[in-house]
């Protein structure tokens, strides 16, 4: 084994005890570490060697218990899975802060009540129908292909790194967050669950369409669950189940129909398709404001060449739109 070079790592750690401290501050520690030393190891060394009052959640130190998610140089990460060397190399410093979007209890420990509340709200358990009982004394048959549909989601360790990274969670308390939605997806594709339709209908009004698709959750996820992709899957399943009942699903369907006509987006028409006539009126002052600077928004764009090709793709691959009335 090659002898790893050591480095002097300056580590700045967020310290705060609400109710006692007026405001947060950062304590600076310096440790000699190897480049691959995980941030968690360094924090635990701070606790044993320098300052036993430093407070954090941790348990397994092998990225399976989900306890030690925090912000490491502003990225939501598991401390046990993040080596120090590359962080110091890139930033010249290591700043460790609690997760975002959850109130701080003390130092790096946050109150996860809202995270768990959203998790509970998606009803994360198999919902059964007495008319379709489980096979008695036998496991349900399930093919490897069926299992493959939700192969990634059970890897979730509920660390909340995605919840911390999510700008929709930050901006809107109604958004369930990436983890809860990825977990919902896991039940919606589970052939044993008997409530797929109900779940999909309910989530349409319970925040599904607030996902921004910024994919920050997918970058933060330490287990490659790719929540943003699972949310996209859910949206498509919700539309297939119910059609466009909400502004979000209406917008997606409206957009699809919109570009079918000319191959190009017709911006004004989209507002009507998504918001309806009432929405149009509500948007009128803003529309007028935009129109003064950008008058072409009121006009129809040119149609693309070979529009018939596009139409053929729609005919081949898109089922007729549902009647939403």
């Amino acid at each position: 084994m090659a002898v790893a070079k050591t480095l002097e790592a300056p580590i700045e750690v967020y310290r705060f005890e609400p109710g006692k401290d007026a405001k947060p501050h950062y304590d600076r520690y310096t440790l000699t570490v190897e480049p691959h030393t995980p941030v968690l190891t360094a924090l635990l060394r701070i606790r044993t060697e320098l300052d036993p009052s430093l407070t954090l959640r941790y348990s397994c130190r092998s990225s399976i218990c989900g306890s030690c998610a925090m912000q490491i140089n502003s990225k939501s990460r598991l401390a046990c899975q993040t080596p120090i060397g590359p962080e110091i190399e890139k930033h010249g410093r290591l700043v460790v802060e609690p997760m975002r979007n959850q109130p701080v209890l003390r130092d790096l420990v946050v109150d996860q009540a809202s995270f768990w509340k959203h998790y509970d709200r998606i009803e994360p358990h198999l919902k059964l129908d007495p008319r379709h009982p489980m096979p008695e004394g036998k496991p349900n048959p399930m093919t490897p292909a069926e299992v493959a549909r939700f192969y990634e989601t059970p890897r979730c360790i509920a660390c909340a790194a995605c919840y911390s990274a999510c700008p929709a969670v930050e901006a809107d308390a109604d958004f369930p967050g990436p983890m809860a939605l990825a977990k919902l997806y896991r039940f919606v594709v589970d052939p044993r669950d008997q409530a797929h339709q109900d779940r999909l209908v309910r989530i349409q009004t319970d925040g599904l369409w607030l996902c921004l698709r910024c994919h920050l959750c997918t970058e933060a996820c330490p287990k490659d669950v790719r929540p943003s992709e699972r949310i996209r899957d859910l949206k498509e399943l919700a539309i297939a189940a119910q059609g466009g009942t909400e502004p979000g699903s209406r917008h997606a369907i409206g957009f699809k129909e919109n570009i079918r006509e000319r191959g190009q987006l017709q911006e004004m028409k989209l507002v009507r398709q998504s918001d309806g006539v009432g929405g149009m009126l509500a948007q009128a002052p803003q529309g007028l404001r935009l129109w003064r600077k950008k008058p072409e928004i009121a006009k129809k764009p040119r149609a693309i060449d070979d529009l018939d090709q596009l139409e053929a793709l729609y005919r081949e691959l898109d089922a007729p739109p549902r009647d939403d009335s």
Binding site: S59, C65, P83, K138
Partner: protein, 560 residues
């Protein structure tokens, strides 16, 4: 004072299964855990769960393999019950929602495991524990109105008066408050205590709190000297490198480049049983054939990038994330680490302990089905089978309990006063320092190879640490999430268990399963075919012994 009918301490697989059983029996249940249930160490189990459901397999073979694996120290009546429950348990977990890996015909996929006659281990990729933990929590959480979750509460004592359980005292990490929770029945399911050792595959939270509290409360601990060491843990962190790595063709090499297992197990080589491989590695290193720093190499490179990355994905991640090693191009530095405690709170197959009203299940308990050595795939099964039994028994006990248990203010104060004293000290012992010395002592003197002189030294050192613990100091005086306080409590618990382990090991003058003595290299059935029982006395553990239960299998030499 809070009041429930059944208090379950620990919310891993055993604790949750116990809680579910007690809830289903109609009892008012409290679940007390220092971690959120989904963060329990059960989730770290990778391999799988044994059930002889294959057409070619049989329950009798599973029983026999388990009896033999235990080096004949397992209780055969309990093992028979255990193996018969395996199939229904796995089906139940599937019905609860566990996403198991599947065979092409849609049945549960099975893989071969060490010490088993047939491919018997049902699995969920390489994260079976996590899959089961999610499913049991999903199921239990549907009963949310019927139990109370005390999340991130630390157990400090089990209150027993007039020989009867009264409840527990615990403190809430969020605000530092100590509170009594009264109940006629308490189930201890706090899992492992591997952090007694310096090198362990266990999580930091595995500190044996419930086992120590039961010991303190007068319960008998059983067979603590049997400590399983896993041969291949990552050098620095002790993170487990699963047996699957050798199953896929990985080989162990010493610093001379020799495939040294050919000396120790010429037939099965690197796939010999855990105790054999662990002892081989320790021998190589102590004879000067290890690498500088004291380790051997696990080589995967010859398997090729594609195979390593597809079959051993988690291992790749571990090596890259936690050791800065790429197993595709570099050997993995490994050394054995503590992995599993065969011993624990002595129970029967119903989870009953020696104290009326106190029950135990999972790794915290010792039924015993693992005897002197546990087989892979049997621990996940144990948590569910005996968690359920303990829950049923505790619920029945609570339903019939006469009188009204109470946890008094003075019971609470008995836990809180020492903490106040630890916080009031201006000078005193650092709990982290005591922990480090305890871990080094156990590693050095009560490790894989044991002998009389080492263990005497170990006893002396652990007792010296216990004396120093009387002057332990908590520097952090905050009431909120005070980990310095938690450290102090946990070290206190672990020192008690460490003493019981080494005293029991010292007394057992034979080698059996994981208890391997250089000075007594042979199994001695005439003298030692019996369980060690430890009761806490004023001068330390007081040992007694109980017979092993036999049904059909006569002891034989254990050869693979």
């Amino acid at each position: 004072m809070r009041r429930h009918e059944v208090v379950v301490v620990g919310a891993g697989l055993a604790g949750q299964r116990a809680a579910l059983a007690a809830v289903e029996a109609g009892r008012d249940v409290a679940v007390v855990s220092k971690l959120h249930p989904l963060r329990s160490h059960s989730g770290a189990a990778q391999g799988g769960i044994n059930a002889a459901v294959g057409a070619e397999d049989s329950i009798d073979t599973h029983i026999y393999d388990t009896v033999k694996g235990s080096d004949y120290l397992g209780d055969q009546d309990a093992i028979e019950f255990f193996c018969r429950e395996a199939g229904p348990t796995v089906v139940e977990m599937e019905h609860f929602g566990t996403i198991f890996s599947r065979a092409p015909d849609g049945s549960l996929a099975r893989r071969p495991f060490g010490g088993a006659g047939f491919p018997r281990t049902i699995y969920a990729a390489d994260r079976t524990g996590l899959a089961l933990l999610q499913a049991i929590w999903e199921r239990l959480a549907t009963e949310a109105t019927r139990f109370t979750l005390y999340q991130e509460w630390d157990l400090t004592r089990i209150v027993v008066r007039d020989g009867k359980v009264q409840g527990i005292v615990a403190f809430d990490r969020k605000n530092g408050r100590f509170e009594g929770i009264a109940a006629p029945a308490v189930v201890i399911a706090t899992g492992p205590s591997g952090r007694i050792y310096a090198r362990t595959t266990n999580a930091h939270s595995c500190t044996g709190d419930g086992v120590a509290a039961a010991y303190e409360a007068g319960a008998l601990l059983k067979d603590l000297e049997f400590v399983q060491f896993h041969p291949t843990a990552l050098l620095d962190s002790g993170i487990l490198i699963t047996e699957g790595a050798r199953g896929e063709g990985g080989i162990l090499k010493n610093s001379k480049g020799e495939r040294f297992m050919s000396k120790y197990a010429p037939h099965v080589l690197d796939l010999a049983s855990r105790d054999v491989v662990s002892r081989a590695i320790v021998t190589e290193v102590s004879e000067g054939n290890g690498f500088e720093g004291g380790f051997v190499h696990l080589e995967l490179m010859h398997l090729g990038k594609e195979r390593i990355e597809s079959r051993l994905q988690e291992i790749c991640d571990f090596c890259r994330n936690f050791a800065g090693i790429d197993p595709v191009t570099q050997p993995i530095p490994v050394y054995p680490a503590q992995h599993y405690m065969m011993g624990g709170i002595g129970t029967n197959a119903k989870g009953e302990t020696s104290v009326p009203g106190l029950f135990a299940a999972g790794e915290a308990a010792c039924v015993s089905i693992h005897g002197a050595n546990r087989l892979g795939g049997n621990s996940l099964l144990e948590t569910l089978v005996f968690g359920k039994q303990a829950g049923i028994a505790a619920a029945a006990f609570a339903a019939q309990a006469a009188g009204r248990p109470t946890v008094t203010d003075s019971d609470v104060d008995a836990s809180q006063a020492p903490i106040r004293a630890m916080m009031a000290r201006d000078h005193g012992e650092d709990p982290a320092q005591l922990r480090a010395e305890m871990q080094a002592t156990m590693e050095r003197y009560v490790g894989i190879y044991r002998n009389d002189a080492d263990m005497l030294e170990g006893i002396k050192r652990i007792r010296a640490l216990k004396q120093r613990y009387a002057n332990v100091r908590i520097v952090d005086r905050s009431q909120v999430y005070n980990l310095n306080l938690t450290d102090a409590l946990e070290v206190g618990h672990m020192l008690e268990l460490a003493e019981a382990i080494v005293v029991g090991a010292y007394a057992r003058t034979e080698s059996r399963g994981a208890h391997s003595r250089i000075d007594y290299p042979k199994r001695d059935d005439a003298r030692w075919m019996r369980h060690t029982l430890a009761r806490k006395g004023p001068e330390g553990p007081e040992l007694s012994y109980s017979p092993v239960a036999y049904t059909r299998w006569e002891p034989k030499e254990r050869v693979y």
